[in-house]
């Protein structure tokens, strides 16, 4: 399809401490016992997008991610891993790899995306409209669908922050306005010029920007070059392109026509034609009408560019692993309602227990659970709606509810774990009670401790000693 894909895999996000560490960058956090990055890579593979650049923050993290990818996808994908300094914005990350970008259109995907919307559809919409940028929008998960009441409440509280305020044209194809709800303080400001040109704008607050964008490469590079202060694709580049769509500062048409060897669409002097044909619309879009002015009266055609939106259907799953809450939710969803994403086949009890796992007597593993390879559980344990990784050793009388336990974790007898995340190599001694806690890698929780809503991790100092 002549699309180049850039996967922004991030580094060790501060939001996800203590889950992430030097050893486990964000991209390798397990979702149903697979690194989260694998979901994006396989999604792209399904759309036959195999030419990828994975951008990772930090050299160490890049090495680890690169190592994992070359092991897992060696003969399936053509992946280059590029390292950028830690803490750079998404726009800077693209600037850093700009010279590697050669295709006409670039698909930029966030590496923490877990979704089942085919990126190919986004790319097709982008091509059809000859757009400068196409952004994928998903409906926000309806809060309360999860049965646990407490996390439902949290969903709701987060909802307003996660949502965007998005303006669409009546056909829902063009993006007319975008703002992050959290950034809008009191009033939403909308440009009249765009509204005038379109006539009607639908403003939605129930859509989420999925961080999957298709960019026209020359446009993207022009913006990145011209606007040196832009740091973030989502907060700077995309809003800029949307705002300036009716008075484009991009020298797009000319540049594109020169470069597009294979896409030489007949008449260059009649610029309206090709995109109009591609848009298979008998009526030209408002961009073209505006460009020509009222009744074609504009002395010089105005420069416009199109910003499109691809709205995924409500039945599709889409989430980003960008917070601890999201980590819990996604792990739960991938083993639960969005189980088709996990790529595993579920047993009749609607769970996955690796054949090599050993269960003691009277131990129950409920539906929507996962027990990894080589893990052992003692007697009278109960696991509900949780994911347990590989080679864990779990004692007797242990309760694990709504939690994620990573690999090589040792859990003593009589522990109770609820709504928590236990990272790899953690040791929980006997009768530990954890509720809504995160335990960082390698931490030891002493016997009989009770914790609620805490984040337990080894301090860096101790590590260095």
């Amino acid at each position: 399809m002549d699309f180049q894909v850039v996967v922004l895999a991030g580094g060790t996000s501060k939001k996800l401490v203590p889950l992430v560490s030097k050893e486990v960058p964000k991209a390798l956090l397990p979702v149903a016992n697979r690194p989260v990055l694998s979901y994006v890579l396989e999604l792209l593979e399904q759309s036959n997008l195999k030419d990828l650049i994975v951008v990772v923050e930090g050299e160490d993290a890049a090495l680890r991610v690169g190592g994992w990818i070359s092991g897992a996808y060696v003969d399936r994908l053509h992946v280059e891993v590029a390292a950028v300094p830690e803490g750079v914005g998404t726009a800077d990350a693209l600037r850093a790899i700009a010279r590697h970008l050669t295709a006409n259109d670039i698909l930029v995907v966030s590496g923490d995306l877990v979704c089942d919307v085919p990126p190919g559809a986004v790319a097709a919409a982008h091509r059809r409209h000859d757009a400068v940028v196409t952004s994928m929008l998903c409906s926000t998960p309806v809060s309360g669908s999860s049965d646990s009441g407490s996390s439902g409440g949290k969903d709701k509280a987060k909802k307003s922050g996660r949502c965007n305020i998005i303006g669409l044209d009546p056909t829902k194809q063009f993006l007319l306005h975008i703002a992050t709800a959290a950034e809008v303080e009191k009033d939403i400001r909308l440009q009249k010029s765009i509204l005038r040109a379109v006539g009607q704008m639908e403003i939605r607050a129930d859509l989420m920007d999925a961080h999957l964008y298709a960019f026209n490469r020359s446009a993207l590079q022009a913006v990145l070059d011209q606007k040196e202060t832009f740091q973030s694709l989502k907060q700077d580049v995309l809003p800029y392109l949307v705002r300036s769509q009716l008075r484009s500062e991009l020298l797009l048409n000319g540049a594109q026509a020169e470069e597009n060897g294979n896409e030489k669409v007949a008449s260059q002097n009649n610029k309206v034609m090709p995109s109009q044909l591609l848009a298979n619309a008998s009526t030209p879009s408002f961009h073209e009408l505006y460009a020509l002015g009222a009744d074609g009266s504009a002395p010089v055609p105005r420069k416009t560019h199109k910003c499109c939106a691809y709205i995924a259907s409500k039945s599709k799953y889409c989430a980003r692993l960008n917070s601890i809450q999201a980590f819990n939710d996604i792990n739960r969803d991938v083993t639960g309602e969005a189980s088709h994403l996990s790529g595993y086949s579920f047993s009749a009890q609607n769970n996955i227990i690796h054949p090599s796992a050993v269960l003691g007597s009277k131990t129950t593993v409920g539906p929507q659970c996962m027990l990894g390879e080589g893990s052992q559980m003692g007697d009278k344990c109960s696991v509900k709606r949780s994911v347990i990784g590989r080679h864990c050793r779990i004692g007797s009388n242990v309760k694990v509810v709504n939690s994620v336990v990573m690999n090589h974790v040792t859990i003593g007898d009589g522990c109770s774990i609820q709504g928590s995340v236990i990272c790899s190599n953690v040791q929980l001694q006997e009768r530990v009670v954890l509720k809504d806690c995160q335990v960082g890698a390698g931490y030891v929780v002493t016997a009989c401790s009770e914790c609620r809503g805490e984040s337990l991790a080894r301090k860096e100092k101790i590590q260095s000693q």
């Binding site: 305020i165 939403i188 009249k192 010029s193 509204l195 005038r196 202060t229 705002r243 008075r247 009222a294």
Partner: protein, 724 residues
């Protein structure tokens, strides 16, 4: 017409079922409370002006009758006598199922006043249609009424349903084909509730501002610039009481609708009903007069078209009338000629309306013009896009350029060329003072203020026309040619530029080009403001002019407030006023300036420090001592305005500002005085610590005082840790 009647019956049946026999009522405002049709409306009310040879009010009444309305209250204000006389003679009075009652007022200056008066009369008992007497429509009310009533049953707060129609304004002139300004509306796509309404938008402002709260209630809103307000409202009786409760509401849209939307009065809601295939439009200005006339001729308003006799008035035919019309005259398409009009030979008329009893000479060219009744046009005249009122005489060879309006009985001299967009009347233009006075309510007030003078003048004019004529003739001649009678009104300042927007003449190409150019420039400017060069999308950096104005307003206010508080305080110091009295006075100031307690605290503290500063002192230490004394004396007063941490922080910020700007002498003493305030229990340590931590992220220049008080803050920090 027959099927229309059927619809009407159905409506009344429904009404019977639903509302135990309350007849459907309507309020027809026979006064637009605007001046857009001046000078014509100085002599005749707008609703009686002929629209395709039929007075406008007849269209409105005919529609109301066909829509199933049973009782109409016609509210007359300007020229009320003429309206009442007309209705008395018309066939509308004495209809079996359609009663027309007039309500007369002489002192109403707005639609708000009119509705308040009607409320007092206590004649409206149920849902009613509110319409202005210059509306042409053929829509069926059944569905809109049904929707309205169903909504009412579910939600008693749904007080009004507004009829809207799709109409995309021209992107270049920002006005609709009716010549009205562009209108921005936000509508809930599911419930059709109106959430936002902005007409008279500031063209220079490039953005629309919607309250974010709207989106917390509705996940989706549609924002429209392609809808036209038909000014047909279905209202509940509460609307009238709302006008009475809010006696400052004048304009139906600007005050009432905005009031309900913005102030959220009692949770009342407005809904919209969009019509698609039927017609509804209001004659707001000369351009809409032109547009709607053409729509009527082209039969968009069927059955309200010239060749259907929709009420007592005679039906005219668009085909050429053979009455005294010589064969060589050419009457083009879309032209209506009234009865008893004679047309000379080789005269060309196209896209025009000619009234009854006119005499048109030969070799006359009339294009896109509206000629009312009993007009005499002599040979060789040329008219393009003009309105010519009753009894006008155009002497031979006179020329009207596009956009000219000739009011009643004007005489244009031979060969005289009336320049484009002129308005000519026998009456002199009201003087500026008059108009200023009545323009108090922007441009929505009626011509009521000078009604006595005008009516008397026009009465006089009618009575002693001959003598008056001879009087005026001598000097009016210079204005409208030899033998001409009439004054050319000077265009109001500022209005000159805009005259072409609302005229009957099509927009000239050069204006259009200029507007497009201007718009492009505007776009650059306004968007330039909205888009900071860095492109960072921070909400505060997308500010625009008007916002800055707002901020400045507030700042102005707070400066005045501060001065007032200082004056009050100084008086208290010099006259030994009791603290309680000072509190009372400051409170009243606070209310009148709409300030917060924090503002009061800031202003009082400012006054205290100013007092200390103004007391003679020789050294910094002395100043510090004086400040300490003053603070001790007025401690109680200051403390009164410091109920919480926020106010205390405000005091610190105020002090900082003073040290930087108005009272630099204090700057070396900042830490000392801060300590003093802490010792006196005026400031709590949390306030100081909060202030310090707030400043942490600030610029270096902003941190001067934090640095100065570093030791003190550190001490506070340690103290609080010890306590822990």
């Amino acid at each position: 017409m027959v099927q229309k009647k059927g619809g009407a019956n159905r409506v009344s049946e429904d009404a019977e079922e639903d509302l135990a026999r309350v007849p459907l009522q309507a309020i027809l405002l026979a006064d637009s409370f605007a001046q857009k049709f001046r000078p014509i409306t100085l002599e005749r009310p707008k609703v009686l002006l002929p629209l395709v040879n039929v007075p406008m009010i007849d269209y409105t009444l005919a529609w109301l009758e066909s829509a199933g309305v049973e009782e109409v209250f016609v509210f007359c204000c300007a020229h009320s006598k003429q309206v009442i006389d007309y209705l008395d003679k018309s066939k509308w009075i004495g209809q079996p199922n359609f009663s027309v009652t007039t309500i007369e007022s002489h002192n109403s200056v707005s639609a708000g006043d009119a509705l308040r008066l009607i409320y007092e009369q206590n004649v409206i008992h149920g849902d009613f249609i509110l319409i202005s007497g210059d509306t042409v429509s053929n829509m069926l009310l059944t569905q809109a009424l049904q929707e309205h009533k169903e909504r009412r049953k579910k939600d008693s707060n749904a007080v009004m349903t507004m009829v809207i129609k799709k109409s995309k304004p021209s992107p270049s002139t920002h006005q609709s084909r009716l010549g009205t300004d562009e209108l921005f509306m936000a509508i809930d796509p599911d419930t059709k509730q109106l959430l936002y309404y902005e007409d008279k938008a500031d063209h220079l402002k490039g953005t629309i501002t919607l309250d974010k709260m709207l989106l917390t209630d509705n996940s989706s809103i549609s924002l429209h610039s392609d809808k036209q307000d038909c000014y047909i409202d279905i209202c509940c009786p509460e609307v009238l009481s709302l006008f009475t409760d809010n006696f400052d509401y004048q304009h139906l849209r600007r005050h009432f609708v905005k009031g309900l939307l913005v102030d959220d009065i009692m949770g009342y809601k407005i809904f919209t009903h969009e019509i698609h295939s039927s017609y509804a439009a209001r004659i707001d200005n000369f351009r809409s007069y032109d547009t709607i006339s053409k729509d009527i001729i082209q039969r968009w308003t069927y059955p309200l078209v010239p060749d259907v006799q929709f009420f007592g008035n005679c039906a005219t035919k668009p085909e050429r009338q053979e009455l005294g019309q010589s064969c060589s005259a050419q009457i083009g398409p879309f032209t209506i000629v009234g009865n008893g009009t004679t047309i000379g030979k080789d005269t060309k008329i196209s896209n025009s309306v000619v009234g009854e009893g006119c005499t048109i000479g030969s070799n006359v060219s009339i294009e896109g013009s509206y000629i009312w009744h009993n007009v005499t046009i002599e040979d060789g005249c040329k008219l393009r896009h003009a309105i010519v009122c009753d009894g006008v005489l155009m002497k031979s060879g006179a020329v009207l350029e596009p956009g000219v309006v000739l009011s009643f009985k004007v005489v244009i001299g031979q060969q005289f060329v009336v320049p484009a967009y002129s308005k000519v009347s026998l009456l002199q233009q009201p003087t500026k003072q008059d108009s200023d006075e009545e323009l108090e309510y922007a441009d929505n007030s009626g011509g009521i203020v000078e009604i006595p003078s005008i009516t008397s003048r026009s009465d006089k004019l009618n009575g002693e026309l001959t003598s008056k004529l001879s009087e005026t003739e001598c000097w009016a001649a210079s204005e409208v040619g030899t033998g001409g009678v009439g004054y050319i009104w000077s265009l109001s300042e500022g209005g000159h530029e805009e005259e072409w927007r609302h005229s009957v003449a099509p927009i000239p190409a050069d204006k259009l080009a200029a507007v497009i150019q201007a718009m492009n420039d505007d776009l650059e400017i306004s968007d330039g403001n909205a888009l900071p060069p860095s492109g960072e999308l921070k909400p505060d950096s997308i500010s625009n002019d008007s916002d800055n104005d707002d901020v400045e307003d507030i700042r102005d206010d707070s400066v005045y407030f501060e001065k007032e508080v200082e004056a009050t305080f100084l008086r208290a110091v010099h006259e030994n006023v009791n603290e309680d009295h000072v509190i009372l006075e400051v409170n009243s100031l606070r209310l009148s300036y709409n300030m917060t307690a924090a503002d009061c605290a800031g202003a009082l503290f400012y006054s205290l420090m100013k007092l200390a500063l103004d007391t003679p002192h020789s050294s910094a230490t002395e100043l510090c001592r004086i400040a300490a004394n003053v603070t001790t004396t007025w401690q109680k007063l200051l403390k009164y305005y410091l109920p919480s941490l926020d106010e205390e922080i405000e005091v610190i910020l105020k002090f900082e500002e003073m040290c930087l700007e108005s009272a630099k002498e204090f700057s070396p003493l900042f830490a000392q005085i801060l300590h003093l305030l802490y010792d006196k229990d005026i400031l709590q340590e949390e306030a100081i610590l909060n202030w310090a931590s707030e400043k942490e992220g600030a610029d270096e220049s902003d941190k001067v005082f934090v640095k100065q008080s570093e030791k003190f803050i550190q001490w506070l920090n340690e103290a609080s840790e010890e306590e822990d």
